[in-house]
């Protein structure tokens, strides 16, 4: 295994170097860096040209310039651009922005995409499945800049306008309720009657909820309140326990419910801490939550149920934490909204310039700026995760060992979670790794649409000025990500599949 990793690493380095040569030779030829200087009048022309020539080593052959660049890069110096600015500094800002943009989008796309794919496979050929398939194909076929611009126009501008007077029209309520009902009815299995009941119940619940939210003008000053938080935590406990081990037994459910209870109590106890925390506090709390939940599961599960109780409790604990986090965010919404002139969804840039606020308010600021580009990116990559997961799951569901699992008398839930999911997701890990590698380089168009000054600007100014340094910096990060994640994909694949691991 170690030999495999070392060999793979060695190959990756050579591949990356070869690619960098190709890019460098293209980048130096992309445009004449002296073209602007040539326009200058008189003696200024000569000195400007000399200065740029000196700075960019234009008097050296390309191959020499490449090695000069490579030598610098190996010491961690990315050089200076045509104007003499430090490329390291430029890259740092650009990379941070891009990373901020793609991280949330990628995680969201993976989680949601795989979930939809799994559900769609489990409900093959239902209306839900066919709708998902159709929507996925539309998502594949959307140009990101087109849909991004439309999102800006309709979602951001219109949503912000709507927030001024947040009443939901009855037609809209009816439509959403109808869609919710249809989705629930197609997810639930059973005869016509059960499905009708679930359709009616979920549609009615959604309609009531929206009507109440609209009547109370909830959207101007949103929040969940302790009651809804507690209710969600309990629902989470039941949901996760069902998912992990089913509800036949009491103990895992009890452990999860206890965790939820502890979480709600902690919400009150930690009130002063949560007023204006920092990122570290939140991270620490998340770790603490997981540890405490695991402890509860371990203790209350005992010998017999530990295996089911620990994951149920941990998932419930983290979920409760997330609900409390959301609640806090929402509580700060009216303040934030007022501070940005009632237009919380932004269409340009990564943050409101010079914005100062509490942890929650700057969180909302980031959220407001990330919402649209994230949505655009998610729409695009969601589809491929959904399709792949579905195909992979269906393939696994036809395998003989799944039939064996059923023949053992396992419940359908156990068959799906322990055999179908586990095996079906193995090829997805590879896909995810490839995709993460490619997404840094692929986000440049989205950045452009939403006016983010990020990796894309590096590339475009580099091309504009015929300046290889920013282009190479762009390549170092995006190409490097592709190479590294391709390598990780191969290694991860070897780890999760014992057939490869041992050979």
């Amino acid at each position: 295994m170690l030999a495999f990793i070392v060999r793979r690493l060695f190959v990756s380095i050579w591949v990356f170097l070869a690619a960098s040569v190709v890019i460098f030779f293209l980048a130096v030829n992309v445009r004449d860096p002296l073209s602007e200087a040539r326009q200058l009048p008189g003696p200024a022309q000569e000195s400007a040209m000399a200065e740029i020539t000196e700075r960019m080593h234009l008097d050296e052959p390309t191959i020499v310039r490449y090695f000069l660049w490579l030598a610098d890069v190996l010491t961690g110096d990315l050089g200076v651009n045509r104007q003499g600015q430090d490329v390291n500094a430029m890259l740092e800002g650009a990379f941070t922005a891009t990373l901020q943009l793609v991280t949330g989008a990628t995680v969201l796309a993976i989680v949601v995409g795989i979930t939809i794919g799994v559900v769609s496979a489990l409900r093959q050929y239902t209306a839900l499945d066919q709708t998902v398939t159709f929507v996925a194909f539309i998502c594949f076929s959307l140009p990101v800049f087109w849909i991004g611009t439309l999102l800006k126009q309709f979602l951001a501008l219109d949503f912000n306008d709507w927030l001024a007077d947040p009443t939901i029209s009855p037609v809209f309520i009816g439509g959403i309720a109808l869609l919710t009902g249809m989705a629930c009815a197609s997810i639930i299995l059973g005869d016509r009657r059960t499905r009708l009941i679930s359709f009616a119940a979920s549609a009615a619940a959604m309609a009531t909820l929206l009507a109440v939210l609209s009547a109370t003008e909830w959207f101007t000053d949103p929040g969940l309140g302790p009651f809804v938080v507690a209710l969600s935590a309990a629902a989470g406990a039941i949901g996760f326990t069902t998912l992990v081990r089913g509800l036949e037994w009491q103990r895992p459910l009890q452990a999860a419910l206890m965790t939820a209870g502890v979480g709600v109590v902690a919400m009150f106890a930690l009130d002063p801490v949560l007023d204006d925390p920092d990122v570290l506090t939140i991270g620490g709390l998340a770790v603490l939550t997981a540890a405490v939940s695991a402890g509860i599961g371990w203790y209350w599960g005992g010998d017999l149920y530990r295996q089911a109780a620990i994951p149920s409790a941990v998932l419930t604990g983290l979920f409760t934490g997330a609900v409390i986090f959301t609640d806090r965010m929402l509580m700060n919404f009216d303040n934030y909204s007022a501070s940005v002139g009632g237009r919380p969804i932004s269409t340009v840039g990564a943050e409101t310039p010079n914005y100062e606020g509490t942890f929650w308010e700057s969180g909302l600021d980031s959220f407001g700026h990330l919402a649209l580009p994230t949505l655009a990116l998610v729409l695009l990559s969601l589809a491929s995760y959904t399709r792949y997961t579905r195909a992979s799951m269906l393939e696994v569901m036809n395998q003989d060992y799944v039939r064996t699992a059923r023949a053992k008398g396992l419940s359908e839930r156990a068959v799906v979670t322990r055999h179908v999911l586990r095996n079906g997701l193995i090829p997805i890990t590879t896909l995810v790794a490839y995709d993460i590698g490619a997404i840094l380089g692929g986000a440049v168009v989205t950045e452009q649409v939403f006016g983010w000054s990020a990796m894309g600007s590096l590339l475009f100014t580099g091309i504009e000025q015929g300046d290889p340094m920013p282009i190479m910096a762009f390549f170092l990060v995006t190409g490097g990500a592709v190479v590294v994640f391709n390598m990780l994909a191969d290694i991860a694949y070897a780890f999760v599949d014992p057939r490869i691991r041992l050979s």
Binding site: Y401, A407, D497
Partner: protein
């Protein structure tokens, strides 16, 4: 539930671990035959009546099983023989409740008086793997490749019994020993691809008996294996049957497998039973030309050296458009007009021997029933 004592049947050879070698080497003791095994009782544990299974398809309704009746007694081995498409596998999958959702199943399958087809899914599941277990055809694909063997065995225990995982793994180890896998404790952590085909089929048998079932359905358990390993697996099946006091439903297309293994034999053709009786009766006094044809197509070491095989010409009928009358009539050397118009019912031909043929008396008169079929070229 009382677990039977696990008796390690084979002293574990210390080395080599190489599975292929142990496959061949570990069965040096005298071969076990049906005669040594505990005899069947009169208790009927599984009664299948007028079972039909149909699949709707684009091309029409596939009538995979068209009315099957049989009874399985406690500790009995009942062989079911037929070609691909005869409905033998589909009918046993119906017993397991593992048919695809679009299958239309009618009739009754009674396990100790309970009709499995009317049970709720949860009750059906609780019988599956606990009272009725199954050994599948292809051990290479029937085990999950990314989970350890011990894990998969323990899972079968945990699906039905509330015991700590450690206990379940201990039970799994005992079962592996019982089916003759050396160093069972160590092998629990191994993955399926580290086992040879024969060893994997032993794992499948261990999995089938781990909950002490009443019925083991073995669907072509040796078809995917090397000839040298086949006999060992069959013997192992007979051995564990006695250990757990189960009955076996042995499904195969290979008459050779049935010969030394089954108390009674049921022959199926085009979704229907065409002959049923004690295995000896079916083999030595076939009363249905199809059975005779099957017997004639087995190569034999005995008899005349230049004896040719007598294959059955033609192919099995389409299950969507069955010919009128007896479905075997287009291929039958004895077929007459009545055969092409009227499908014969299963009738008693004496001594508990039943057959569905208008001309079973002709077969009874013949000295060699296989002689009706022409010799192959």
């Amino acid at each position: 539930m009382s677990l039977p004592p696990a008796t390690p049947s084979v002293p574990s050879p210390s080395s080599p671990l190489d599975a292929a070698v142990t496959d061949a080497a570990d069965e040096v003791h005298t071969a076990r035959t049906l005669a040594d095994s505990s005899p069947p009782t009169d208790e009927e544990i599984l009664t299948v009546e007028n079972l039909t299974v149909e699949f709707p398809t684009d091309d029409g309704l596939v009538k995979a099983v068209r009315g099957v009746d049989y009874t399985l007694h406690a500790r009995e081995v009942l062989g079911i023989v037929g070609e691909s498409g005869s409905g033998k596998s589909v009918s046993s999958m119906a017993v397991m409740g593992l048919l695809p959702k679009n299958a239309r199943v009618r009739g009754s399958i009674r396990y100790r008086g309970q009709d499995l087809l009317t049970l709720r899914p949860r009750e059906q599941r609780s019988l599956r793997g606990r009272k009725i277990a199954m050994v599948f055809q292809d051990p290479m694909t029937s085990l999950n490749p990314v989970r350890s063997v011990g894990d998969q065995l323990a899972e079968a225990v945990l699906a039905h019994q509330l015991v700590p995982r450690k206990k379940a793994l201990e039970r799994a180890r005992e079962m592996l020993e019982l089916v003759g896998i050396p160093q069972a404790g160590k092998r629990l952590r191994a993955y399926p691809h580290e086992f040879s085909g024969g060893m994997r089929q032993r794992v499948m048998i261990a999995m089938a008996i781990i909950n002490d079932p009443d019925i083991i359905i073995a669907d072509e358990p040796t078809t995917a294996l090397d000839v040298t390993v086949q006999a060992q697996i069959l013997e192992k099946l007979l051995e564990v049957k006695d250990t757990v006091n189960a009955a076996i439903l042995l499904i195969t297309h290979d008459l050779g497998v049935i010969a030394g293994m089954a108390h009674r034999t049921l022959v199926m053709y085009a979704g229907k039973p065409v002959e049923i009786g004690a295995t000896d009766q079916v083999f030595y006094e076939p009363r249905m030309p199809y059975t005779a044809g099957l017997l004639g197509s087995i190569p034999s070491l005995e008899g005349e050296r230049d004896a040719r095989l007598r294959p059955i010409v033609g192919t099995p009928p389409s299950l969507i458009h069955l010919p009128p009358g007896c479905p075997f009539s287009p291929r039958c050397p004895l077929a007459s007009d009545i055969c092409r118009e009227d499908e014969p019912a299963v009738t008693d031909t004496g001594d508990g021997h039943h057959a569905a043929c208008h001309h079973s008396d002709k077969l009874a008169e013949a000295a060699d029933a296989t002689a009706f079929f022409k010799e192959g070229r």
